[in-house]
Each structure stands twice: as structure tokens, then as C-alpha cells.
């Protein structure tokens, strides 16, 4: 199955020792700590929620960045179907894994916040429900990947599933919103008090750095895994045991 794919353009490479990536990870970690400290220090206790409001500094940026990750999945899947290059498939897979973790984090933190604020762990609110559906769509995507052994099949199929899943996000959101219209606005810099904006923004950026670090780290590992598989394949074809 090689449409417009030359071995040259499809070659996977892993260069360098990855030390610069580790430095980037350290920067992301420091940025995250600094943003958290800044947010906690600058924001006064909220009138109704008190210090409970601090959880939003992880919850809301995690939600933003989860959507960012799924955007990467959609683009990389489209690129794979278009160009057929293995690296796009591996990038989509890496972003999907990290996005699923961030979505899970968003849901868990939302629940922890909801219990004291609304008195319930879960409510069938559109944003909550469609985030849960998104989470499940990508859990399906990841289990498809783990249930298919052939690398070409896995790449083609998960690109199609990733694209259809992304296509469904606005439809799911709309349908759940019509189903339940009793909900509150999401938090973003225009709906929260200026005192909280700086904390949200800085945490959004810090968590974006963490997201990029996670995806790149996972992407590097995925390329290494595939390179090893390619080597094993070549060795087997040449009748030598290079392992």
C-alpha cells in the first residue's frame, strides 16, 4: 500500500540524544509551578467558592489543551490519509494519548469541583457530557490501535476513526446541548473576574508547554519503537538474526 509514498519521504528518523527535549520538559515543569504559584498568590478567595476556585487553574487549562491535542490528532490523521507518511500516524497516536489523559484530568477535576459547589459529582450538563463522549471516542481510538497488529492497517484505520471522531465533536456537543439546556457558561478570560484572568492565562500557557513536551516525548518514543520494528522486519527478510 504505497500511494505517493517513496521510502525516502517516509523514512523515520530519531536524531540527537533527546537532551534538548528534556530541557524543554524542565522548562515546562518550572513554568507550570510558577503559573500555579502566581495564580494562587494573586487571586483572592472567590465569594461563593472560596479557595475551591483554585482547582479551575488546572481544570480549565487542561480542557483547553485537551481540545488542542485532539485538533492535532485530526490534522495529523488528515495528513496521513493524504500523504501516507508513517510519522503523521505516530504523531496522531501520541497526541491522542496525551489528549485522552488531559480529558480524563478535566473530567476528574470537574467532578471534584462539582461535589462541593453543586452538591453532586456529576450532572448531565452539555459541556460535561460531551467531554465525556469525546473521552470515550478517543478511548475507542486507542483501543483500536492496540487491537490491530499490522502497522499499515493500524495507521489507515486509526486515521479514519480519528477523523470521524473529530467530525462528530460539534454534532455531539449540539445534540447534548439541545437535550439539556440548563447549564452555566464555561470559564474563559471574558467570563471570569479580571483578578482570575492572569492565573488562567498563565496556567493555560504552562500546561500547553507540558502538552507539547508530552506529545514530543511520546512521538519520539513511538518513532523509536517503529524503527526497531523496521529493523526486526529487515533482519527477518534478510534471514539474519540481528536482535
Amino acid at each position: 500500500m504505497s500511494r505517493r509514498v517513496t521510502p525516502e519521504s517516509n523514512r523515520l528518523t530519531v536524531t540527537g540524544s533527546g537532551r534538548s527535549l528534556e530541557w524543554f520538559g524542565l522548562v515546562a515543569l518550572v513554568a507550570l509551578i510558577a503559573a500555579q504559584v502566581l495564580a494562587v498568590l494573586t487571586s483572592p478567595p472567590e465569594r461563593d467558592m472560596g479557595h475551591l476556585q483554585k482547582i479551575l487553574y488546572v481544570h480549565v487549562p487542561a480542557a483547553w489543551n485537551a481540545f488542542m491535542a485532539f485538533f492535532v490528532v485530526a490534522i495529523a490523521s488528515l495528513m496521513y490519509l493524504w500523504k501516507g507518511r508513517e510519522r503523521h500516524d505516530l504523531l496522531a497516536a501520541s497526541a491522542a494519548e496525551v489528549g485522552t489523559v488531559f480529558t480524563g484530568l478535566t473530567l476528574a477535576l470537574g467532578s471534584i469541583w462539582g461535589r462541593p459547589t453543586w452538591g453532586i459529582w456529576w450532572t448531565w450538563d452539555p459541556r460535561l457530557t460531551s467531554t465525556a463522549v469525546l473521552f470515550l471516542v478517543f478511548v475507542g481510538y486507542l483501543s483500536l490501535r492496540s487491537f490491530v497488529e499490522d502497522a499499515d492497517q493500524r495507521a489507515q484505520w486509526s486515521a479514519a476513526v480519528g477523523l470521524l471522531g473529530a467530525l462528530n465533536v460539534p454534532i455531539v456537543y449540539m445534540s447534548v446541548r439541545w437535550w439539556r439546556t440548563l447549564h452555566q457558561m464555561q470559564s474563559n478570560p471574558s467570563t471570569v473576574d479580571p483578578e482570575y484572568v492572569i492565573g488562567l492565562r498563565s496556567n493555560g500557557i504552562a500546561l500547553l508547554l507540558v502538552l507539547i513536551y508530552f506529545i514530543l516525548k511520546r512521538y519520539r518514543a513511538a518513532r523509536m519503537e517503529r524503527l526497531v520494528e523496521h529493523m526486526a522486519e529487515r533482519a527477518a527478510l534478510e534471514g539474519r538474526d540481528r536482535a
Binding site: 500500500m1 490519509l81 463522549v133 470515550l136 471516542v137 478511548v139 475507542g140 481510538y141 483501543s143 483500536l144 487491537f147 490491530v148 497488529e149 499490522d150 499499515d152 492497517q153 489507515q156 484505520w157 486515521a159 479514519a160 476513526v161 477523523l163 470521524l164 471522531g165 467530525l167 462528530n168 454534532i171 455531539v172 449540539m174 445534540s175 447534548v176 439541545w178 437535550w179
Partner: protein
Amino acid sequence: MAFGQDLRRARAIMWKDLTTERRSKAGFNAVAFLGVLILLLFGFALGPDTEALREAAAGALWLAILFSGVLAFNRSYQLELDGGALEPLLLYPAPRWTIFAGKFGANLLFVLLVEAIVVPVAIILFQVKSTTGWGSAAGVMVLGSIGFVTLGTFYASMASRSRAREVLLPLLLFPMLIPVLLASVESSNALLAGNPMRDAGAWVQLLVAFDVIFVVASFLAFDHVIEV
């Protein structure tokens, strides 16, 4: 007349699948009875209160259709995989979408026939009383089934060739079908409550949009998933 020929090919594949099914009827009987069984289980789970049953009728019916119908999709590829017939089918000099169209047509007819058994049983078991809206409710059934069968046929083309196909298909399919489930249940409820103006219109539009988007997307993507 290339398009006419393609349609003939799709019809031939559809006819082949339906004939295989008609000769044994094993799949149809099992799926239809499973649907009825799920309805009975919902009846037990929800209790004997007539009013509660009536309100839950549309939801229970749709879940029964989804849970039983999902078993049909893998089967439609499984017969070919077992007989080693999928590769020869792919070798025919015809566009790949004709295979999808044929399987889609056969599965749609299959699911509609299952519904022809399950729906009357649901009406009896859940004591649905309505004097209005039957025609429109039937239209909603067809629209919902198109969305269900499109994605079911599409995902089964992958799931049936993977390990753990029994669990993978529902895992992939059901989260995608939440808009179909919501729209079908809500609009059936609105129509059967004798108040068609309530909000059935918006839901029917959503169903139509879902069907159009995913029929097009599945037809386009099928080329990519079947070739490997």
C-alpha cells in the same frame, strides 16, 4: 454509463448478502429475538408501573435496537473473511465504494426488518398509546437507522478484521451514535406525545444532518480502510 454499472455492482453485493442471510435466517432470528429479550429485560428493570414504562418506551426501544443490531455488522464481513472471499471481491475492477454501498444496503434492510418485529413488541410491552404521529415516528426510525447502519457498516469493516472484534465494534460505535440516540428518542417522544410541534423538528434536522455527514464521510473513508 459507468455510474449505472457501479450501482448494479452495489446491488449485486447487497443481493448476495441478503440471499446468504435468507437461506439460513440464523442471524436474523438471533438478532430479532435478542432485541425482544432486551425489551423484556428493560421492562423488568424499570418495574411494572405503566406510566414509567410508557415514558421510557422510546429509549428502551432504541437501546434494544442498538444492542441487538450491532451484532449484525461484524457478521456481514465475517462470512467473507471466513471464506477468504474479501480479497477476490477487492480485486474486481470496480470502485471500492460499491462494496460499501452493497453492504450498507443489505445491513439497512436487515435492521429495518428487525425493527419491524421489535417495534410492535415494544408498543405492546410498554403500552404505548398514541393516536397521532405514527407516520412521522416511522420516518424518524428510518432516519435513525440510516445513521446507525452507516457507521456500523463502516466500523465493522475494521473491527471484523481485528483481534477482539466483539468488544471493539461497540466500543468504537456507541460513543459516535450518541447524537442519533438522543435525536431519535427525543423526537419519537415528542411525536408520540401528540405534540409534533414541540421540538421534533430540530431533532429531525439534526438526524438528517448526521446521516448526510456520515454517509459522505464513510463513503470517502471506506476506500482507505478496506485497501489494507
